[in-house]
Amino acid sequence: MRLVLDPRTALARIADVKNYGAPWFSRLREGVRSAAHQLGVKLLGEDFDDRIRILEERYREAGDPFGFDPATARRAVAICAFFHRLYFRTEVFGIENVPAGRVLLIANHSGQVPIDAAIIGCALFLDKDPPRVTRSMVDKWTASLPFVSAFFNKVGQVVGLPENARRLLGMGELLLAFPEGIRGVAKPFSRRYELEEFGLGFMRLAIETETPIVPVSVIGAEEQYVSLGNLEWAARALDIPVFPLVPQLLVPGGQLPLPTKYRLHFGEPMYFHGDPDDDDQVIADKVWLVRQIIAHQIRSGLRARRGVFF
């Protein structure tokens, strides 16, 4: 029998599929779409677009001199929100303590990879009203890295120099600094939740610009990558600051951080006065106060938590 392909019957068959198959298909499609929407809402919140709009308006006329780009930040937050809400299931305490206008956030640094900064930034964007852009002070070294430097510029990260910080505070921005620096991130697992020495620069800056300091403690980042130590000779050979020994990287899937539970505690703002060019000893005493508050927040946070992963 010869198969006759009559265009009219072919059309009729398509119409059949539409009549009988389509309701089921479109229901499936609707289902997928609404599930995706619900996931989006769960991750990013109902008012995500409004939050982005607030930022876009803020940097509309002149743009940001440091290169912050709301469009890139939007994508970065969307990815980060997955880690913030689902992966690390961050619990945020006291975010209402962060005052409006210029402010300096001082936090403990840990976890081999600075995910803690990303999570703090994500929390301040998604959980704070109105949303804040976190400008963290990054190491000079990162500015010489391809991709990293361009990406950091676009999401508002700035090389940690006093001149840059002064200008950002003058613009009324929120600064995040880790006075432990790279020593804090690269701590081995055996010394988790011990604070390293704090640098003094942030305190001079806060006094000079009369900026409130908000102490922040991050719990959970210490356990995300278990580091046995630092291979100094390898770091020197590769010309990078540290070379942590992280055995989990060798396990398939171990490249992702362990899904620990993050807890962020934002303390009450602290105000310091005096002479910004005072002796190191005088400044160090003030820094000690901030360090004690962060240490206390970490201790009470650790006592309150039931486990590393939940």
């Binding site: 001199p65 290169g67 500015a143 391809p146 991709f147 990293v148 510029n153 120099l161 001149e163 200008r167």
Partner: protein, 319 residues
């Protein structure tokens, strides 16, 4: 545009070195109706206004003295800086430093009361550890990574020491960011390329300034009482990728190592005039803080970002 111009009186003359360059010609066009302008340049100045006196001289030659002796000189604008990457660093250094030396001697001997030197923000040098906005006090580190720029740094330093040594002369050093327009310089040439190469993974913030804004800053610097170093920036800074996008250029991202080797080779074959180490200008940040120029000089950039960028495509034979 004439509101800020200082009055020039009678026979007193303004000497412009390097007058045949595009900046020099634009400056001349702005000033020659208000007073006597004398040009010194090795190149001819064929279409000059009839009231402008021009001397085709090398700045190092002894006959420059006669120019200074002939008329009472009120001010000198030094634009005659030569930076030809094709010439050896030695030649550039010798030309710029020696011509500066001679010029400053004449200025001192005749007792000129104002000297304006056009340096450049490039003397700070692009470095990953730069503060985002460099102030006038920042060290001039350009020669550290790129020794061929030593002549420009040297010239800036020599002008600074002249500033301190001779308080009777009001010395003004202008350090503009990348000057764009019909001028022939590396940044304008770069933006004129149909497919400007960029470095893969690097997208520094840059500052550009329109040539006419720089010319106006020079005029402002001629005002009596103004002295010192001034950074000049144009409209707010912009990411390199955004600038190329605004101009409608298709960027050609190349990994840095490859770009460096390629540019090096092309330079050797005389197919480009960009020396490879200058790639750092599209790799790291080198931007200036021009608060001082805006508050003391009264400088402002009158061209916005789009105007400044698109000025590189202006017809270049017109002026």
């Amino acid at each position: 545009m004439t509101d800020a111009l200082p009055a020039f009186e009678g026979e007193e003359a303004l000497i412009v070195t390097g007058i045949s360059g595009r900046l020099g010609r634009r400056l001349t066009r702005l000033l020659h109706r208000q007073g006597r302008v004398i040009g010194i340049d090795r190149r001819p100045f064929p279409d000059r206004p009839s009231d402008v006196e021009h001397h085709e001289l090398d700045l190092r030659s002894g006959r420059v003295r006669d120019v200074f002796r002939r008329a009472p000189v009120r001010a000198v604008v030094h634009l005659g800086v030569l930076h030809d990457p094709r010439k050896s660093a030695q030649d550039n250094l010798a030309y710029n430093v020696l011509s500066w030396r001679r010029l400053s001697e004449w200025v001192e001997q005749v007792g000129v009361s104002k000297l304006v030197v056009l340096s450049s923000a490039n003397v700070y040098g692009p470095r990953p550890e730069n503060p985002h906005f460099l102030s006038e006090e920042a060290p001039l580190l350009a020669a550290g990574r790129f020794s061929d720029i030593r002549d420009l740094v040297e010239l800036d330093l020599a002008s600074q020491s002249f500033f301190w040594r001779r308080p009777e002369t009001e010395t003004v050093i202008l350090r503009p960011a990348h000057i764009l327009g019909t001028v022939t310089n590396a940044p304008s040439n770069y933006f004129r390329l149909a497919h400007p190469p960029t470095l893969l993974g690097f997208d520094p913030m840059i500052q550009v300034v329109h040539q006419d804004d720089v010319v106006r800053a020079i005029v402002l610097a001629l005002k009596p009482g103004i002295r010192g170093i001034f950074n000049l920036a144009g409209p707010p800074p912009v990411a390199l990728s955004r600038a190329l996008q605004l101009l409608g250029r298709r960027a050609l991202p190349v990994p840095h190592g490859l770009a460096r080797a390629a540019v090096d080779q092309l330079f050797r074959w005389h197919m480009t005039s960009f020396p490879a180490p200058e790639l750092d200008f599209i790799r790291y940040v080198c931007m200036v803080d021009d608060t001082r120029a805006r508050s003391i000089l009264g400088y402002e950039s009158r061209h916005d970002l789009t105007q400044t960028l698109s000025s590189v495509d202006d017809e270049r034979w017109v002026d």
